[in-house]
Amino acid sequence: MTTVLHCHKGIGPAVRGTALCASDDFSARYDLDRMKGVFSRPAHKLYGQDYRGQILVLNTAKGGVASAWMLRHMRESGVTPLAYVFNSVNPILAQGAAFGEITMVDRFEDGDVTTLIRSGDELLVEPEAGRITILSRAP
């Protein structure tokens, strides 16, 4: 059975992929080893996890203006998440998504997206429609 979540209209193309989820925040500069494609800040709940090709589902964006450049560079280098899903973002991540034409959505009507989605869930993210469909649940 599919579940549909509703959010604010987002940025970037529709994508389908697997969720990597945590009730934690995000900064491309401070949380990631962008060469290896893993979370590198020891205090982060996804520490050590590989984010390449995953749909990141996290709470909010932290400081770090650099992320506006980094999302595009990560995409062009191929060591990148597939898409970003947040409860709310700060302008930096939205600017980074716009600059890199990367899929990003936030502001869900249904509640805390980090509890509505679990790591391993298969998702269809449609920014233009402001919608995420959970196609299948993680085993």
Partner: protein, 416 residues
């Protein structure tokens, strides 16, 4: 979004592809945040160190730099955040020729766009301080929160591409802190402890930031037993923005939009508040405690030091020698570096074995690669912002007073 005739012409490409790219970017961001229109801005401030931009970002800048002059030049004063490399010092820091080359390419591209290479995150202390009510497009979270909170100017966090867009179009999407309604205090924090050092002010920023944790919340701080100076506000704001992604605050009776508690909250004072006492400060410091461990590198940065801070470091270190297994780094803006050179402060620090770097900030200077090349792990600093962010680069940070940072640099061991 509503566009005027000139903005429509930019969108149609009549002012060239750079301005067309810029306004398209601004419309995408503005639409995401439900901006109704664009607002003219007086200055733009670009964060674009090459560790952040990567090679693809440098190539993007070079593409713009190859356009005809009338199409590529910024329309408003546009300045830069710290760079990734101090060309006078990169070899001593074991940064690579590749890093220096990439940095030089970015500088050439920015100069072709008529961007002024100020290379500073303390432009509000050194270049042109913003004015209350002035709309700006500033990068660097510490610059934005200081400009909004302390000076009453109006800016969102503008990442490099967005600040560059503002430079090219002379405007920015009107959302967030450009709007009166978003500047209302939303959370109340009461300080029940005396703050005696820059690091204490940073810790207060960290405590409030962790508790706030949202770009869209505006903390209001009361209970302070004195008015902070510019450097104390700088450390407080930088940590608040770093720990909490916060871009605005009020201190009733001190900051310009909060003559009173009631005005800070636009007449809607929340019934509950959060208190921070001396134990909260002790617990914060304890997270980073490492008494007696080897001190690999002592860093004064994040934000860059004012002239008064450089003088304090120079006074504390003058006539002493830094331990031969420990490095000491001071980062400041080019303007302050010139003044420090002229006044003999740089000489005092460097005679003791320290380095005074110009136009860079430690964490924006390939910090991970510097750690690997120099064998640095344990980092000591008086910047709460730096201890928050540097762990992601593989460092183990300790937060101390400036005095204890210097003692640690001299003894080679962490002195708490």
């Amino acid at each position: 979004m509503k566009l005027n005739d000139e903005e429509e012409a930019m969108l149609a490409g009549e002012f060239g592809p750079a301005r067309q790219w810029a306004i398209k970017h601004q419309i995408a961001v503005g639409s995401f945040f439900d901006a109704e229109d664009l607002v003219p801005v007086g200055q733009a401030h670009i964060m674009a160190d090459t560790e952040a931009t990567g090679t693809t970002g440098v190539e993007f800048l070079e593409t713009l730099a190859r356009l005809p002059e009338d199409q590529r030049r910024v329309r408003i004063p546009t300045i830069t955040d710290p760079r990734g490399v101090d060309f006078a010092a990169y070899k001593r820091l074991k940064q690579t020729e590749d890093m220096a080359d990439r940095e030089a390419r970015a500088v050439r591209a920015f100069e072709a766009l008529s961007v002024m290479m100020t290379n500073t995150c303390i432009n509000y202390q050194t270049i042109l301080p913003p004015v209350c009510g002035e709309h700006l497009a500033f990068g660097d979270t510490g610059v934005v929160i200081y400009s909004n909170g302390v000076l009453g100017a109006r800016s969102n966090f503008e990442g490099g591409p967005s600040a560059l867009s503002a430079g090219l179009t002379g405007r920015t999407p009107r959302y967030g802190y450009h709007l009166d309604s978003k500047r209302r205090g939303t959370r109340h924090f009461v300080v029940e402890s005396s703050l005696s050092s820059l690091n204490d002010w940073g810790v207060l920023g960290g405590l409030v930031g962790k508790a706030t944790n949202s770009y869209w919340e505006v903390p209001v701080i009361s209970g302070l037993d004195r008015v902070p100076n510019s450097d104390e506000m700088k450390h407080f704001g930088a940590a608040l923005a770093s720990f909490g992604s916060v871009a605005m605050f009020h201190i009733p009776g001190v900051t310009p939009e909060a003559p009173s508690m009631n005005q800070a909250f636009h007449g809607q004072i929340p019934p509950e508040s959060v208190k921070f006492d001396a134990d909260d400060f002790k617990r914060f410091y304890a997270q980073y405690e490492a008494r007696g461990e080897k001190a690999d590198v002592v860093v004064f940065a994040a934000p860059q030091l004012s002239l008064l801070e450089v003088e304090q470091v120079a006074k504390l270190i003058a006539g002493r020698n830094i331990h031969d297994q420990t490095s000491l780094i001071v980062t400041t803006s080019p303007e302050i570096k010139f003044a420090a050179d002229r006044m003999g402060l740089t000489d005092k620090i460097e005679r003791s074995g320290g380095m005074v770097l110009s136009g860079v900030c430690f964490y924006q200077s390939y910090a991970r690669e510097m750690a690997e090349a120099n064998g640095w792990s344990r980092l000591i600093t008086n910047s709460a912002k730096l201890v928050n962010i540097i762990g992601g680069y593989g460092y183990r940070p300790t937060l101390l007073s400036m005095e204890n940072c210097i003692e640690s640099a001299v003894s080679g061991r962490i002195m708490q």
